[in-house]
């Protein structure tokens, strides 16, 4: 039996202790999921590592290093960095709207920092979880529901969500909003707040409609009736459904997906990669991948529950939920359950920023796990 350093809880952990404490099972699981992604990128490129799979592998290895390094950083350090990170992300987000480079679909999502192109909305997802966890760490259950204390986290969620929505990027704004509100819920927000808010949200749908961009309205209308625009936006979704559906139970086999190989699928290496899995591996493949995702989420929930600090719990569950929302929105979108929004499948879709942001999240999750016995006094939760 390996001697557990946490037998003596108050002791400061050495680096080797931390490395020992990392949840390597979770790391393995993440690697397996990433490998599924590489395989699919290899397939949609017609059996070549270029242009996607090779690059993505390098990114993953870099992400793995970052993840492990982050896991070893003390959870209290993360707590200290929570607000500065949030402020930085917010600043970049504002900058994007001002000087942001016009990206795909005419949306301002990217900002160029020297040679690196950055998507501040991705950065915001993580820093919002950090900042909210830190803020809520300082509040007792009953305090969460007091209007004065609640206004601050609502603003912390609302400001970036609106900024991202203005870019416009409905998908990411939705994730930011859902993620933030979920954290409030988990921190113990009273049902007296939650139920009326839900009702209000449903009632305000017609009003929200007026604030949507024409292309977003277009997508929603197309979603409600794909035949309305069968060759335009509806084409994407119907081709995606054809790809998935034609996979059947066991799929057409690796490298044998006709829809993807013959370019009927749009964005097949990014947002629509789920349909390639469905086409080539069928229901069995898709459900297996969903199970892998579910296990990762299970790990996240367990880590959250085992943390001895409210900050750790909320941070762990926050990044886990973020991961979950990615999956939910992407899968629902490509299967025609919700309108098309530009959200990738985490760890599977091609794309550097998205992968990095997910892996940074896992780094924080691992850090919570490594430092689960660390107790943090409540006082350090105040804003100042």
């Amino acid at each position: 039996m390996i001697a557990r350093p946490y037998a003596t809880a108050r002791r400061t952990l050495s680096l080797s202790d931390k490395l020992m404490e990392i949840n390597w099972g979770l790391v393995m699981l993440i690697t397996v999921i990433a490998c599924v992604g590489f395989a699919m990128m290899y397939s949609v490129a017609g059996g070549h590592l270029s242009p996607w799979a090779g690059k993505q592998m390098i990114r993953f290895v870099a992400g793995l290093v970052i993840m492990v390094v982050m896991a070893c950083v003390d959870i209290r350090t993360w707590m200290e960095w929570a607000y500065p990170a949030y402020a930085m992300a917010l600043l970049l987000l504002v900058a994007t709207t001002v000087v942001g480079k016009v990206g795909g679909l005419g949306a301002q999502r990217w900002i160029a920092l020297g040679p690196v192109e950055l998507q501040p909305s991705e950065l915001m997802k993580i820093s919002l979880v950090l900042a909210l966890a830190r803020y809520l760490h300082g509040l007792g259950v009953e305090e969460v529901s007091s209007p004065a204390k609640l206004a601050i986290p609502l603003a912390m969620i609302g400001v970036p969500a609106v900024l991202v929505l203005m870019q416009p990027n409905l998908g990411t704004a939705t994730i930011i909003g859902l993620n933030g509100v979920s954290l409030l819920f988990l921190a113990g927000l009273s049902w007296w707040w939650i139920l009326p808010a839900l009702g209000g949200a449903i009632a305000s749908v017609p009003i929200a409609w007026r604030f949507l961009h024409p292309y977003q309205k277009q997508r929603i209308l197309t979603f409600l009736n794909p035949a309305r625009d069968a060759l335009g936006a509806g084409w994407n979704i119907s081709q995606a459904e054809i790809a998935l559906g034609s996979g059947g139970l066991f799929g057409k086999g690796f490298l044998h997906g006709t829809q993807s190989r013959l370019n009927f699928l749009p964005e097949k290496q990014t947002d629509f990669i789920w349909t390639v899995i469905g086409e080539e591996f069928g229901l069995v493949g898709c459900v297996a991948l969903l199970l892998l995702f579910a296990i990762v989420i299970g790990y996240g929930v367990r880590i959250a529950m085992s943390s001895r600090s409210q900050f750790g719990r909320l941070l762990a569950i926050g990044v886990t939920l973020n991961f979950f929302f990615y999956i939910m929105i992407n899968a629902s979108m490509v299967m025609g359950l919700i309108p098309v929004v530009g959200i990738p499948m985490p760890m599977i879709s091609y794309g550097g920023t998205a992968m990095l942001s997910v892996m940074v999240g896992f780094g924080l999750l691992l850090s919570v796990h490594v430092h689960r016995q660390v107790e943090i006094p409540r006082g350090s939760g105040s804003i100042l």
Binding site: I242, S246, L262, G278, L283, L290, R308, A331, R378
Partner: protein, 629 residues
């Protein structure tokens, strides 16, 4: 788990409860996703599989090779020519389409219009779609392009098939032509082949009549395509069945002689085998060049064809109707003899009175005493007025119908007309007036309402010559299937009646005083028998007749009489019949007789049974030939 903070315990409990709720929510979402997968992949999987297959596989029709049209000796009258063409593919033109065309223009001439069209089509199509630059190149130009190919990126030489008509205008009215498919064609024929770009279907003549047989059946090419329509690979290929060849009864040499004999007249003529009904030649002049219609006729060319007063687009042999004039007399004679008037003798004083009408003979001085044979020889009108009166209009109808007039012959060409043999019933129902006896007289000399096509006249001559109800036919084989050919039934006239009429027709050509004597066939054993005819286009007025002007040759062309002639040869054992109609040919020059003479003489000389054995058929024959010498 030991906790140092009491308040944290309650937070922890709330967090745990809420996390369980969230976990339940996540599980529900995952279940929904799995359910949706089940619905898409299992419940509707088969539908989507079909749709994916439809996406992927593109079935293309392959145009079958059109069957040939051949004459009776296998000479091609409608052929498939190789169409040497040059295409351009944008994505292969590494130096750009403009440069590629510039380079190509150094080798072949390229008009600015062509250039513009190519550039436009290249813009309109995807980069991998080949666009035709130029078609119908000759071999030299085409091989020159091939030679320079390494320096012409993007240029693709290609060989297609196109219809060609080597005999041009000469065969135009028999063969017809193929042309582009119109919307009306597509409505009539749902065959998807018609929608192939560049597909041609028969528009006239044999090409139209036997289009389904000549066309063949389409092949299919199943290919895998990507989302942009680019062909990735071929899955399977069925080349289809080429169309049937059509073997005609036409002898291209006879057709050639006949067409040349007609010259630049607006005329029609038919040469037929009197026993089988095989049409050896069927000419209608002027013709048109059918190749023009295939490659695309210009507006000016089309207008010239439409406004020509010689009507080059009309097949006058089957769709032109003319009063037969005196060529009608043999059929009246046949009916009269059969009705018991064979020994009728009539004195011709130059005219005949019926009621208060005077009916003139073409010979004002009169023919004197006439019998059936001399009346046919000299074409005495008064004799046939009398004969017609004795026979009556019903008798004329019966005998002329038996000889094939007044109804379509059933020749295998579209647009044949029936002509007209008038009867009292017809007149009452169409014109609403009762029949007058004078009209029986006029009908007796083939004037008045009577109308016939040159093909009907030739059929009539053939029936008189053979005594059988021969039916003209134009096709011998469609593919491997011989066209039905049955022994024609005997006509309801006695051999004696035929003998008398044939004798009269023999005398008309071969005895001095006969109307066609000047242009008879003098070669012994090849003589022809015949009957001339003149059909009035304008009624000659009493004033004109008084002034002595009864010839129409001084009138403008379109008011002149039609000149007709029916004939058969050889006289003793008739084998071939010929009918000639020269529109507005006038009456003085027996040009129409000369046409028949040339055609019938040539045809008889070509008859295999008359040919000297030029090439012994076998070694045994060769020995015998030497032995005889």
């Amino acid at each position: 788990m030991p906790l140092f903070d009491r308040k944290d315990k309650s937070r922890y409990n709330v967090f745990t409860r809420r996390t369980l709720i969230a976990g339940g929510g996540m599980a529900a979402v995952f279940a929904t996703l799995a359910g949706r997968l089940y619905q898409l992949q299992i419940v509707e999987g088969q539908t989507f599989m079909t749709r994916a297959e439809d996406n992927r596989v593109n079935q293309r029709l392959l145009a079958p090779l059109r069957g040939l049209i051949l004459d009776r000796f296998g000479v091609a009258l409608a052929d498939n020519r190789r169409n040497y063409r040059v295409l351009i593919v944008k994505e292969q033109a590494s130096e750009g389409v403009e440069t590629a065309l510039d380079n190509l223009a150094h080798i072949i001439t390229l008009s600015p219009q062509d250039r513009e069209r190519v550039l436009r089509q290249v813009r309109q199509n995807r980069a991998f779609v080949p666009v035709t630059v130029i078609e119908n190149l000759n071999w030299e130009a085409f091989s020159s392009v091939n030679l320079h190919l390494p320096y012409l990126p993007g240029i693709v030489p290609d060989v297609g098939e196109t219809r060609s008509y080597p005999f041009g205008a000469e065969m135009s009215h028999i063969i017809g032509y193929v042309g582009a498919v119109t919307e009306a064609d597509m409505k009539r024929d749902p065959n998807p082949l018609l929608s192939l770009p560049g597909f041609r279907i028969g528009k006239r003549g044999i090409e139209k009549q036997f289009d389904p047989e000549i066309r063949g059946t389409a092949g299919t090419d199943r290919v895998e395509v990507n989302a942009y329509g680019r062909v990735i690979r071929e899955l399977s290929r069925d080349p289809g069945t080429p169309g049937d060849n059509v073997y005609l009864t036409i002898d291209s040499e006879v057709q050639d002689v006949l067409t040349r004999a007609l010259g630049d007249q607006s005329a029609a003529s038919v040469v037929m085998d009197v026993e089988t009904g095989d049409v050896l030649a069927l000419a209608s002049t002027p013709g048109y060049d059918p190749n023009l219609f295939n490659v695309g006729i210009s507006d000016a060319q089309w207008r010239a064809l439409m406004t020509n007063d010689h009507d080059p687009l009309l097949n006058k042999a089957t769709a032109g109707v003319y009063p037969p004039g005196s060529t009608f007399k043999p059929s009246v004679a046949l009916g009269g003899i059969e009705a018991g008037f064979g020994d009728l003798q009539v004195f011709c004083p130059g005219s005949m009175r019926l009621g208060d009408h005077v009916f003139h003979c073409w010979k004002h001085s009169g023919h004197g005493l006439m019998t059936v044979t001399t009346a046919l020889q000299q074409s005495c009108d008064v004799f046939f007025y009398t004969m017609a009166m004795r026979l009556g209009i019903d008798g004329i109808d019966a005998s002329t119908h038996a000889l094939g007039l007044g109804q379509p012959t059933g020749i295998e060409l579209p647009g044949e007309r029936a002509g007209l043999i008038p009867s009292p019933t017809w007149k009452r129902s169409v014109l609403g007036r009762p029949w007058e006896e004078g009209e029986t007289l006029v009908t007796g000399i083939g004037q008045g309402y009577v109308l016939a096509t040159p093909l009907q006249l030739c059929t009539m001559a053939a029936r008189i010559a053979s005594g059988r109800a021969v039916v003209p036919r134009l096709t011998r084989y469609i593919g491997q299937a011989p066209q039905p050919r049955r022994q024609a039934s005997l006509l309801p006239f006695s051999p004696e009646a035929f003998k008398l009429v044939r004798e009269g027709m023999r005398m008309a050509v071969n005895v001095p005083g006969g109307t066609a004597y000047a242009r008879r066939i003098t070669k012994p054993g090849y003589e022809m028998a015949g009957k001339t005819g003149t059909a009035q286009v304008l009624r000659i007025t009493r004033a004109e007749r008084a002034a002595g002007e009864t010839k129409t040759n001084d009138l403008p062309w379109k008011y002149r009489d039609h000149a007709l002639f029916i004939s058969f040869a050889p006289v003793e054992a008739p084998k071939y019949a010929c009918a000639v109609v020269i529109e507005h040919g006038g009456a003085i020059e027996p040009f129409q007789v000369q046409v028949a003479r040339d055609a019938l003489l040539f045809t008889q000389e070509r008859d295999p049974s008359r040919l000297p054995t030029a090439y012994p058929a076998a070694v045994g024959d060769l020995d015998r030939t030497f032995a005889q010498k």
